[in-house]
Symmetry: C2
Subunit: 180 residues, 2 copies
């Protein structure tokens, strides 16, 4: 059974996951929906996370550690010393390529992985490891930034699984990746 | 009462309205939803259309003329001679800038205008004339193309009016532009 990559991410209406300087002020400014359990429900479906170093820096900036599953940070520049003491048991740094990382996670018994961060999502998508994408669309245009999606070799068809809107005016859509 | 610009457009999941060569094969390939009356209902709410020359060329390629309201094509290169005979009564070419065009449409008594095409939508949005945006999100990634949205000077906040999904897996969301 090959590993299943899952994306759960918020974007601006114009499709950015962060500004060019990686800031997500436009997202943090938005009203929260205390009723929304979708992130917690999603976390229950994965064995762990793989994210890029920029996403890691962003979540380090939050007031609390939001993950209850192991996190692998893909980075060629970060080392063990860059992981704050209070999360050393939860985070490891890896500089493997996508294929080798997937083999290593499969060897650990992971079957479902939360893939986070623009570049990491795009490389897992290109390699065919993304099975499910949940996008929470925030009703704001920011004009420029880091796009969720990037160039691809050929069209990728998806299938809508569900769509709902929240009280704050966010639209959350879940897709299954059908393929090229 | 200033004119109200309305957008009603389909994009790929990665936010493009057409490929770089303006083709919309990825959209025409999708299953149609014969039950979907939303385009006709939308057309009832506008006095006419303003579109760019690329959008005009695209709709000329359809088997039939799909608009029952007057169309203004914004172009500095097209002339009356480029309008096929069978629609000369429905279409005019204009090379006015946004402000002058808006004044001229207001003078005609138009209060609500369907704004179509990437560059035209972006310039009307920048000038503050877009009040409502309906996006039908098609579940396909095309990787590159002409984006619906472009660079802006500052964030633009929107408000979700409604969201629905169709049988074909399209997600149609309607927003009100709140402003900067």
């Amino acid at each position: 059974m090959p590993i299943s990559g899952k994306v759960f991410i918020a974007t601006s209406l114009d499709g950015f996951i962060a500004r060019e300087d990686h800031s997500i002020d436009w997202l943090m400014n938005q009203p929260e929906d205390p009723e929304d359990r979708s992130f917690h429900e999603f976390m229950e479906t994965v064995d762990g996370l793989v994210m890029g170093s920029n996403s890691f820096r962003t979540v380090l900036g939050f007031k609390q550690w939001i993950y209850n599953k192991p996190v692998v940070v893909l980075s060629k520049s970060l080392s063990k010393a860059d992981i704050p003491d209070w999360i050393t048991g939860d985070v490891e740094i890896s500089n493997l390529d996508v294929e080798s990382l997937v083999s290593s996670l499969e060897a650990r018994g992971w079957s479902s992985v939360y893939i986070d961060g623009g570049a990491v999502i795009q490389s897992f998508l290109k390699a065919g490891y993304i099975e499910e994408i949940t996008i929470t669309k925030i009703p704001v245009l920011i004009g420029s930034g880091i796009p969720l999606f990037g160039e691809i070799e050929s069209d990728i068809q998806l299938e809508l699984i569900s769509s709902k809107s929240t009280g704050a005016g966010f639209v959350q859509t879940k897709y299954k990746v059908v393929g090229e």
